[in-house]
Each structure stands twice: as structure tokens, then as C-alpha cells.
């Protein structure tokens, strides 16, 4: 069993919040923030559970979060 988790962002259909949150949590998402104006949920999930997030009704896309880094001056 892996416990590898990843930070993800999930876009959902308009009007599907907040109901979709329950399904996302059931599918393994630990919700970080709910961005209501954008219809996006961010959180962490086990890497292997990402496909099951995609099959949640109301979910449009699931992507891993990028990190950005600015070198020092």
C-alpha cells in the first residue's frame, strides 16, 4: 500500500457546490479550500485515488498542483 499523497485542484460544474464536496470526500479528497466564485476545490488526495475523483458526478477536471519558485536576487 502506498500512502503517497498529492496536492490537487478540482474543477466542478457550476451549481454543483456544495453537494459535490461530500462525494469528493468519500472518494478520498481531504479538502483544503473551496473556491466558490471559481467552482474549484483544492486539497490533498492519495495519488492512486486521483482517478476516482475524476469519476465523481459534477467533477470536470482534476489536476495536480504545480509549484513555482523564484530564485533569490
Amino acid at each position: 500500500m502506498t500512502t503517497s499523497v498529492d496536492q490537487v485542484m478540482v474543477s466542478v460544474k457550476e451549481g454543483s457546490l456544495p453537494k459535490v464536496l461530500d462525494y469528493l470526500r468519500e472518494a478520498g479528497l481531504v479538502v483544503d479550500t473551496v473556491l466558490e466564485a471559481l467552482g474549484v476545490v483544492t486539497g490533498t488526495v492519495e495519488v492512486r485515488a486521483i482517478p476516482s475523483l475524476l469519476s465523481v458526478p459534477g467533477v470536470l477536471d482534476v489536476e495536480r498542483q504545480w509549484r513555482v519558485q523564484l530564485p533569490p536576487y
Binding site: 500500500m1 502506498t2 500512502t3 503517497s4 496536492q7 485542484m9 478540482v10 474543477s11 457550476e14 483544503d32 479550500t33 473556491l35 466558490e36 466564485a37 471559481l38 467552482g39 474549484v40 483544492t42 495519488v47 470536470l60 477536471d61 489536476e63 498542483q65 504545480w66 509549484r67 513555482v68 519558485q69 523564484l70 530564485p71 533569490p72 536576487y73
Partner: protein
């Protein structure tokens, strides 16, 4: 032609290992890449292991990628293999270039180039969000301004310990007549929303950036200026989530303007527009210099996905900075972006346009340049 795919990656591979089987995973990698995991002192140029993360970085002949991928597909300790990419915020390097022939005794060359000096618009009544490293709250040039702040970085307040954010706020919405010339702000009466989505060390992630966008949209900001992103290999698909977000923001009256990236080394190499500026519904801004030449570092339309939309002044840009420095001259598409965002605010004030109408007015009023559209899109943004 350009070949950024090769140069955007390091030639090494990132390997995600099963967290409770790191040693087994490294052993499997050693069998493929030809090193002995039990040799005691592993050459860090060959393999680096981060046990807490369950990640290894491996140098391997590109021909071994298929074998590494095979290991990832089989059940076992090797989960995911990716080429290692150089990922960073579009940095602002200190400007080394001497000022051209521009007279900056009153206003910066950038403000003159976008025609801010001959525009009657001020940005009054329009909200602009700058999502960056925060804001220098003790900067004397902003005393008396209406500035709303919020930090999306855990453990850090909005105070800008880096300087990049304060520089971008200065260009887009700083003063025209500071105590010491030159003036450097375009929409100098705009209402500023300073969102900290990058830490004082200059790092952040999509989660914080999206939270900043949500905050700006919820507060009715007409324009979001984002001098950040990550370089990507040519033909990388744009983020569907950012594209959806940008469309929704635009439908609510918020236009997102982002830096194209600094990954080119012209003339040898033109790198593609980075993430998230490569999304079709986000305006990608390239950088030109005082002579209206494309900046050597400015990323361009190197594939059919990420297109440059407009250009702005992005070399030898003077603006506000964190204290005690107070001012700095920087270069980068990070500096071109707040020029475009400030001009968009002026257009929003003067015409009342929001969303896609604002995009259209910004792009169509740009000054055409004697440069390829693949480098500068519709040209140099112009104040109304």
C-alpha cells in the same frame, strides 16, 4: 525552429517511489540505471534520494526512459517516472542593461511607451488585484492609498519580504509623482488588492494562486495581474482547470493577465509560453525593451497552444521595492505584465468594459510593432 523540450528538462528523471518501500525502489532503479545502491557513497550526480518524500532523482541515459516507465507500470515500488523540469516563478533579474535613449527625468520609459503620460485616465473606481509576493506596507509612495491585502501563504502576512510583488504593484498602480522622480505607476488612482500567493522566499503553488484569483473575483476586481508561472516543454497541454477558472472569472467581469515567461535565449532559442499564461482565456504578455526590440528572454508562441497576446515594457523597469531598498530596476515578463494590467485598468475606467470586452479593447488598441506576432501578439499595449 525551436527546441525547448530538451532544454526545459534537466536530463534527469523524477521517480516517485512507494513510500514504505524506498530502499527497494532505489535498488530497482540501480538495476536499470547501472548504479550500486549499496555502495555507501552514492554519487549525487547519479542519484539523489529523498526518503521523506519517497522521491528519487536519477540521471539516466534517455534511452533508459522506456525501461524506467516499464518499472513504473509494473506493480512494485517504482510508481511514477517523469522527466525533471525546471519549474520556477518567472523571475525578475536585476536589470544590467543601461538605460537607452529614454528620458526618465519625469516618468519611466515604460509609462511613456504605453502612452500613460498622454492619457487622462487614472484608474479611479477600478479594482486591480496583484497576486505575487505581497506588498511593502511601509512604502512612503503608497501612503494614503486604498490597499486591501490578504495572504494565502501559511505563516506569512502580506508584508513583502521579497520585493517582486511591490515592484509589480508599483508599475501597475503606483504613483505618477512620488517624492523623487521618476513616476512609475500607470493606474495611479486604482484601488489595489495585494494578494500574497508567493512566499517571501518566492515560492507558491496552484492552490494559493487559485485562492487569490477567487478572492479577486469575489471582490469585483476588473483585472488580475499575475507575474508568475512555470516554464513548460513545447506542446505541453494548457491546464484545463485554469482555463475553466479564467472563463468563469471573465464571465464575472475579471480579466486575468499573466507573464508569458522568461525561458527564451534569443536568438538561439524561443521557449513556449509558460503555465498558466498558455491558457487561451488568460492574456499572455511578452517583454520588449526601450528600443522596441523583443527582450532576449521573452517566451514566445513556440507551439499552437501557448500564444503571446500583447507586449509590454519589460527591460530596465524602474519601480517600487521592499525597504530599505525602496526602488529597483528589474527586467522580465514579470515587469511587462503589470504594464499591461495597468493599461487594462485605464481602459476599464474610461470605457466601462469588463471581461472579454476589456480583453478585446486591450488587444485591439495595442500599437503594432515591426516584430513577429509570435513574439509580441497584437503589439505594445496603449493607454486610452
Amino acid at each position: 525552429m525551436t527546441e525547448p523540450a530538451e532544454v526545459e528538462t534537466t536530463g534527469r528523471f523524477l521517480v516517485l517511489l512507494q513510500q514504505d518501500a524506498v530502499e527497494e525502489g532505489v535498488a530497482e532503479l540501480g538495476a536499470i540505471a547501472g548504479f550500486d545502491p549499496n555502495s555507501g557513497d552514492l554519487d549525487p550526480n547519479t542519484v539523489q534520494v529523498f526518503p521523506q518524500l519517497g522521491v528519487a532523482v536519477v540521471s539516466a541515459d534517455p534511452n533508459l526512459l522506456a525501461e524506467l516507465n516499464g518499472a513504473a507500470e509494473r506493480p512494485g515500488p517504482v510508481l511514477i517516472v517523469e522527466p525533471e523540469r525546471v519549474v520556477h516563478l518567472f523571475d525578475a533579474a536585476p536589470a544590467e542593461d543601461p538605460v537607452g535613449q529614454a528620458d526618465e527625468s519625469v516618468l519611466t520609459w515604460g509609462l511613456q511607451a504605453v502612452g500613460a503620460d498622454v492619457s487622462t485616465a487614472t484608474g479611479k473606481g477600478v479594482r486591480i488585484a496583484v497576486l505575487d509576493t505581497g506588498f511593502e506596507q511601509n512604502h512612503p509612495d503608497f501612503a494614503g492609498r486604498t490597499i486591501t491585502t490578504k495572504s494565502f501563504i501559511a505563516g506569512e502576512d502580506v508584508q513583502d519580504g521579497h520585493g517582486h510583488g511591490t515592484h509589480c504593484i508599483g508599475t501597475s498602480a503606483g504613483p505618477r509623482k512620488p517624492a523623487t522622480a521618476p513616476g512609475y505607476g500607470i493606474a495611479y488612482e486604482a484601488e489595489i488588492y495585494a494578494g500574497k500567493v508567493l512566499s517571501n522566499a518566492g515560492s507558491g503553488s496552484d492552490g494559493g494562486i487559485l485562492a487569490g484569483i477567487d478572492w479577486a473575483v469575489s471582490n469585483g476586481c476588473a483585472v488580475i495581474s499575475m507575474s508568475l508561472g512555470a516554464d513548460v516543454p513545447v506542446n505541453t497541454p494548457y491546464s484545463q482547470i485554469y482555463e475553466t477558472v479564467a472563463q468563469r472569472a471573465m464571465a464575472k467581469g475579471t480579466l486575468i493577465i499573466a507573464a508569458a515567461g522568461n525561458a527564451s535565449s534569443r536568438p538561439a532559442k524561443i521557449a513556449p509560453v509558460g503555465h498558466p499564461a498558455r491558457c487561451p482565456s488568460i492574456i499572455a504578455v511578452a517583454a520588449i525593451d526601450v528600443n522596441r526590440a523583443i527582450a532576449f528572454f521573452s517566451s514566445g508562441s513556440a507551439d499552437r497552444i501557448g500564444q503571446v497576446d500583447v507586449a509590454g515594457p519589460g527591460v530596465d523597469v524602474y519601480s517600487s521595492f521592499k525597504l530599505p531598498e525602496k526602488y529597483a530596476r528589474l527586467r522580465g515578463t514579470s515587469m511587462a505584465t503589470p504594464h499591461a494590467a495597468g493599461v487594462a485598468v485605464l481602459i476599464a475606467e474610461k470605457t466601462g468594459a469588463r471581461g472579454f470586452e476589456l480583453w478585446a479593447r486591450l488587444a485591439l488598441s495595442a500599437l503594432r510593432l515591426q516584430l513577429p506576432s509570435t513574439d509580441v501578439g497584437g503589439g505594445l499595449v496603449q493607454a486610452p
